[in-house]
Subunit: 214 residues, 2 copies
């Protein structure tokens, strides 16, 4: 597999032309392979086909590069959750469940982004925009919870922030424990998606937001 022939990162002479992008790609490949801890600037440079000093023109250090990966991850994550929510259409409870599935799908399909976002121990405060990007992703869930709660009469509406936090935590727990492909992960008697969907439904039922056996 040659990076120079992938994604349009043609190396054309002395100047790379797109080194920043190539380094992000390399970081993703390395994180996917060995986790955020196994990642080094030197190896990313090697993958991108440049000298070990070149990356420093674009990133202060390894954490800055991982933070860039995490930032882009949160942007994609936000887009994926928003697409799943689809403005609550065609039916709000269904759309809400769909957001949960999108959460797990992201953890499964983009393990490198997911690891950079949640497992790399980045100092969010040290990288401008990172907290905001994470907030945007959470905002999708928050908005969805708000819209769901609005279906109830004012006196019986649960606090949407709490709802969003519960669903976020449940999704994140299932993703961390059961979706990530580590050999250390426990086997489940059901798909993580089913587990999450059942949990969300039960939760919504208790708030009077979904019909059910109860």
């Amino acid at each position: 597999m040659s990076w120079s022939s992938q994604g349009g990162f043609e190396r054309r002479g002395y100047h790379h032309g797109n080194l920043r992008e190539a380094l992000v790609e390399a970081a993703l490949a390395l994180i996917a392979d060995k986790g955020p801890a196994g990642f080094t600037i030197a190896e990313a440079a090697r993958l991108a086909g440049v000298s070990p000093a070149a990356p420093y023109r674009h990133f202060r250090d390894a954490e800055a590069l991982i933070a860039e990966v995490a930032l882009r991850g949160f942007e994609r994550f936000t887009a994926a959750l928003a697409a799943a929510w689809n403005d609550g259409k065609p039916q709000r409870v269904r759309a809400f469940e769909s957001v949960g599935r999108a959460y797990l799908a992201f953890a499964r399909d983009e393990p490198a982004y997911y690891a950079a976002m949640f497992e790399a121990r980045i100092d969010f405060t040290a990288h401008p925009g990172l907290s905001a990007a994470a907030d945007h992703a959470f905002g999708v869930l928050r908005e969805a919870a708000e819209r769901l709660a609005a279906a109830l009469p004012p006196g019986r509406r649960p606090p949407s922030l709490m709802m969003a936090l519960h669903i976020w935590a449940l999704s994140h727990g299932i993703a961390s424990l059961f979706v990530r492909a580590d050999p250390s992960r426990r086997k489940l008697p059901m798909a993580p998606e089913e587990l999450l969907e059942a949990g969300v439904l039960l939760y919504l039922q208790s708030l009077g937001l979904a019909g059910g056996p109860m």
Copy 2:
């Protein structure tokens, strides 16, 4: 802070006398400080006051030492959860909530163990006993869920395995996202314990296992 004067690890001459224990202690200190990734055999040896070659008499490599820490962590974790459950006394729903609080307390009070257990990307299958130790911890939750479910008439009993998985995931999600002391963690408008307790109560209500506004 001197390790030789702590925990009875007096170095008395050529032989350390308790190097295995001292290395585990050193690993805990290092993991607490820099995370599982920042941990090296060489530094653990330095902390324990022995030559860099000495640890190899006790552990094959760094992962083996971290696995030992994780193993002990799961044993402590099991004990903490079991103590909180206290055989369902004095009242099962209360005892169940107490297990949740114990989960969060462990993540907060034993960050090094928690990191070794859940964030170190250890290959569980490569270290005998580790999976079993993790299963024991989960078993406490499983047993508690079973006992809770047994309060309902047979036809209305939820599957206790599913209950246990839901509560485990919710607890783990809240612990990972909101309890760990990383600077990257989001600020909450309430204590993680309150968030978890509210979530567990709502969940149990939907199963008909706890009274409530519904």
